[in-house]
Subunit: 466 residues, 2 copies
Amino acid sequence: MLTYNLKEKDGPLYKSLYENIRSDINRGILRCGDKLPSKRTLARNLGISIITVEKAYDQLIGEGYLYTLPQKGYYVANTVLMQPVFPSVPAPRIINRTREKEKADFDFSSNMIESNCFPFSIWAKILRETISMKERELMTNPPCNGIYELRSAIAKHLSGFRGMSIDPDQIVVGAGTEYLYSLLTKLIGENKVYCIENPGYKKLKSIYELNHNECRLVSLDEYGIRMEELRDCGADVAHISPTHHFPTGITMPVSRRYELLAWANEKEDRYIIEDDYDSEFRINGNPIPTLQSIDTGGKVVYMNTFSKSLASTIRISYMVLPPELANKYYEKLAFLACTVPTFEQYTLAEFISRGYYEKHINRMRLYYGRKRKRVLDIIRSVFREDQCRIIENDSGLHFLIELNTEVGDAEIIRRLQEQGIRIGSVNDCDMEGKSGKSGTFIINYSNLNVDCLEEAVLALKDASLM
Amino acid sequence: MLTYNLKEKDGPLYKSLYENIRSDINRGILRCGDKLPSKRTLARNLGISIITVEKAYDQLIGEGYLYTLPQKGYYVANTVLMQPVFPSVPAPRIINRTREKEKADFDFSSNMIESNCFPFSIWAKILRETISMKERELMTNPPCNGIYELRSAIAKHLSGFRGMSIDPDQIVVGAGTEYLYSLLTKLIGENKVYCIENPGYKKLKSIYELNHNECRLVSLDEYGIRMEELRDCGADVAHISPTHHFPTGITMPVSRRYELLAWANEKEDRYIIEDDYDSEFRINGNPIPTLQSIDTGGKVVYMNTFSKSLASTIRISYMVLPPELANKYYEKLAFLACTVPTFEQYTLAEFISRGYYEKHINRMRLYYGRKRKRVLDIIRSVFREDQCRIIENDSGLHFLIELNTEVGDAEIIRRLQEQGIRIGSVNDCDMEGKSGKSGTFIINYSNLNVDCLEEAVLALKDASLM
């Protein structure tokens, strides 16, 4: 009979009993096949309750130390297999995070927004109302492409703001454009050739390659992507940002848009991905019609995000699929759960449909217009007219400054880095790795602290001197 | 000289001017290469301001109708290319959403939680505090794997709750396990053979296949996955839910766990994915150590989610990578933005670290324990003992009911469907499509409405009668 001295002060009795028996098995005192006393017998022997014994036995069974035979009792299991196996080569234990991007004191390259620009009080108010009014909806799994209220609000916004006529069922809401790109490649098919603009947004290439596609780079003329190169490169899909190209700022005229659509219509499997990432911040004139709105062949996938117009950290983007791809989406990918929390979806839907989003954009457009002017004034007060040229365009949250300098881009970037200032050059966006002199730098002004700007611009000027 | 009769009542003057000129170009009155009057001349001629003319010209340039030659003036562009191209085959216009799962009046298969179980008031309180205290942090892009505060809170929770010793840098937070699986396949490498448990969670197969992997099915004995079949199937990766297998409810004993680890250690590229999806709701005894905590070879990726323990709609899951894969993650995938909004991340971090999560789990465990008992009581009051067998296990949010019936599963499911009742059978989870008689149905009780349960159980009984 097993006899242990169980003390309440060592914790729950069943746990002590469990540990004692386990230890006896591990030390070979109890051996494979040995029969244990019945619960009743052991309980009586130890002066404890049957329930306590039962809990200990159950735990030992769960962990594989004991097994039961019906109508017979409890037996010690074969525990030879229960010894840990040590691998011949010890696994590494140290985690090396790749060096995070060092924090810069002043960052001309940041694409975040100033935290005082986010409409916190309205957002908090709507969120509070949502939580108190929509308990049931918040706990209900949304459709794969997002709640109807949000898609409908987006469709209405696009109709008013971009003249686009869209069925909310064409819209897929997801946790960021990167996620949506990877969904999209599964719809369009993988092992395709994607053409991306060069210079351009480098991350795109990494994302398409990560998703099993080949990327071809096509250069730009003053109207955007060169059609001849596009034709020659054998692309199936062209990823374009016609409203405001990064980094050059080019806006593609309507004529080139029609040429692009004509190209897409030549073959059945060709598509255009229209990346409209900061179209809300066109400063002058009316916006040019989107490719999506002049597409008669169902060739354009329109992509946009609330990262620029609201905040990148709320992680909501969407794509508008042409009907054929939308049908394919419902057939093939509807089993994947929507990646955006219902809390954010309902809040954003209300935020848009009550008109706050439009107000916010209008406010931000004025704000950015003024800020852009202040930034330009400061630059012009530091540089003489012959020392730099501002490459402005009517749209978006960045512009270019071309310095009249003999110093290479990399050297200027290095010199500024030493002072805690981060800046990117157009050369950095060249994916063919041309390292020739450009002298042209990107000023992302949405997150710039204007109060320290003069100092940073002076440093840029100093860095550009031989 | 262009002369138009512009009227303020038709809207902004620049817009009327723009429309008049565009119309003249489209009708061929103005032709490719024609020179337009200077801004000053046209303004004087029409009796409007230079700025108005400038706005109209800018819009026309933007849209590609005009171009400028420096020092010379404005010219009409070649607009032949600006005509819409119509595809030879008209694109489909109708969107057919695949029939959404019809809403059932009573659903034994729902994996959602009751909305009154979510801790709305505490969540709302912490969210409100987060918004008022952390404006700057909320607007700052989080690290790729989630904010440190959340990962650190998770690591601490796993240490206390599961005895796991983890560096927060091993943790990757993402918008749902489906998203994390697709990330993981990019780390482990694609075109691998994944072994999944059969019967099991069907979606897994779809997800791994969507991510370019082959799936092999391995059947189970009473201790979980059969080791011999695993060895024979040539798998590189085994996806296992050892704490509580769906649907059988099997808990894998420690001995089988060590066997699994031994298998993984035999080859360098072998891994085990440990899916611990509802381990929080073990009802009796202590939890068995996780595979992750007894893994000495860096072979186990631990996955868990807040979908069961908090709500599936907040879309937060996490994985714990062994150091080698963590390093690979930082090297290869750190460029991808974290998919969870900062609002949710900070709120959840506080929720856990202030002890609310543990309290919530304890409360829910009691609640589910009681609910499970009520559900079982109702089932036992409707069925005679010889009419059904309850296959209970100590853990999780579902159990099985085996009916003593000659009616096939599909027929029972169909009969219930007609009455608006949804139920799934263990056969449905068989991915080899064996359609033999099982008579065993899955009772997910977390979202059941106990008040209508008796009626639904009676319907189940009726449906099982010949």
